[in-house]
Amino acid sequence: MSHDHHDHTHHTPHPYQPDIEDKPFTERMVMTQAVAELLVEKGIASADELRQQIELMDSREPALGARLVARTWLDPEYKARVLADVNAAAAEIGIDTGDIPIQAIENTDAVHNVVVCTLCSCYPRMLIGLPPDWYKSRAYRSRTVREPRRVLEEFGTKIPDSMEVRVHDSTADLRYIVLPVRPAGTDDWDEDKLASLVTRDSMIGVCPAKSPEDL
């Protein structure tokens, strides 16, 4: 298999609004603050509850999913439980993924999976945190279903024609996480070390997991 291991997560995140110096606030920022203050004033929500919800989402990040994936590489029975029910399997290792069902899709030597939500941007947030901008972009949402191999190449991922590329459009209640293939040369690695190879992008499916050489 010839996969280019270039990883888009290496570059530094940059601010979304480059003109923030000229325009310190926008109408929607004002609207947001107004709605929040009105809800608190009316007793519909407390400031604490809003703050706790922010902290909850802050606590969700790719490292949680990476740990789950690494454990599936080490423990075939855990992998079977993950494939049956991600939410329950995540709870086993102390990750509360809430009510929305998450399904795991396993990459194999025959099939490479990639996930998109063409209609909005559904994403397994409660396991791996908020999605990157590109996942929510017009380009990703439009093109991944129709020319997945070209999109994957833009991420430096080349899947040979002998393998199937399978795209999953998460249109309904389920969210999806890809289980990337365990990289070669990791035979005696422990869970933490294996987890360091599992990137967010590999759980979306645009890249494989990192190789030992990439670390």
Binding site: Y16, V35, L38, S142
Partner: protein, 115 residues
């Protein structure tokens, strides 16, 4: 005759996927929190499905001009107004108050948007 709605974009042509990312601003996290809190079983003031439908109803121009969380807060606010959870009048007054606060006092803007 077929009708493709503006948000239903799977299969359309588009340029390269720009691998852009940004650290979420506090106001964006606040939008996310507002939506989640409004949708709790004991409140049921706004569901994910209503939010999506509201976003789809923003219309093609607005949909493309606004960014992701701007669409979220626009939709959520419209639905809260429809349901009478907040009134147009009190929203207008509150927005004016905040705009005045943030314009007059940079420290107030920083406090509200960074904490």
């Amino acid at each position: 005759m077929t009708l493709r709605r503006h948000h239903d974009m799977g299969g359309l042509d588009a340029g390269p996927v720009e691998a852009r990312e940004h650290d979420y601003a506090m106001w964006e996290k606040r939008v996310d929190a507002i939506v989640k809190v409004l949708s709790t079983p004991d409140r049921k003031l706004l569901s994910t499905d209503e939010l999506r439908r509201g976003i789809e109803e923003l219309g093609p121009g607005v949909y493309d001009e606004l960014n992701y969380y701007e669409r979220w807060i626009s939709s959520a606010t419209n639905i809260l107004l429809e349901k009478g959870v907040i009134t147009v009048d009190e929203l207008g007054a509150k927005m004016s108050e905040i705009e005045a606060r943030w314009t007059a006092d940079r420290a107030a803007l920083d406090k509200d948007t960074r904490q």
